[in-house]
Symmetry: C2
Subunit: 119 residues, 2 copies
């Protein structure tokens, strides 16, 4: 059975696949911000920024709260544990694969040196 | 100046935002596979699987080689260093934020205990 179902990974990786959305998160690292602050900072319309914030909110990266006419954004409650684990697993497999390739190359080189000495 | 431009992060996070594509990568951890093997395993048409493999190839996760009529897929040359670093940075900020919140809660609790003792 193929182990590939982490349904919320779809939403979180999709949310991270846009430079503006990653920028918004980096901005929220420094502190909460209103949607109009974010729109100004990223040279966007309010409507455009609302869409980006909506995607981040859906993925759990951001929570928003409306007080009066101002909607304030802050970092959400997702710790990105599964996302980090997924990428770490890929990196481990990758390292193991390419270490194995390195070993093959080293063995071939050693064999060649041996053959030269025995000639 | 906002530091949010890692253009290839767009392509790699977008490639990872689909459960089938993550499944294909997990399959390639175990060994190379042809596109028709992958189509069978994921109950997809060849055309559907070719599209997914194309997205993975564009992001550098997969390389393909056609020999005769068979196109074989293998893990690509991307180590996902920047992706791992991005997620790690988010997690560090997140932990620091919520540790700070924990401290505030602890301080409030301590103050309440003090007030009770002084009553």
């Amino acid at each position: 059975m193929v182990q590939y179902l982490h349904p919320h990974l779809d939403a979180s990786f999709a949310a991270l696949s846009d430079a503006t959305r990653r920028g918004v998160l980096e901005q929220l690292y420094r502190g909460d911000a209103s949607i109009s602050d974010l729109a100004d900072r990223f040279h966007m319309t309010l409507t455009g920024m609302k869409k980006h914030v909506g995607v981040l909110e859906h993925a759990g990266f951001v929570t928003t709260q409306k007080i009066g006419r101002v909607r304030t954004c802050k970092l959400g409650l997702r710790r990105l544990e599964q996302e980090a684990a997924w990428i770490e697993r890929y990196r481990q497999v990758w390292e193991a694969r390419f270490d194995a390739l390195d070993n093959i190359v080293e063995e071939l080189k050693a064999k060649e040196r041996n053959d030269e000495q025995n000639r």
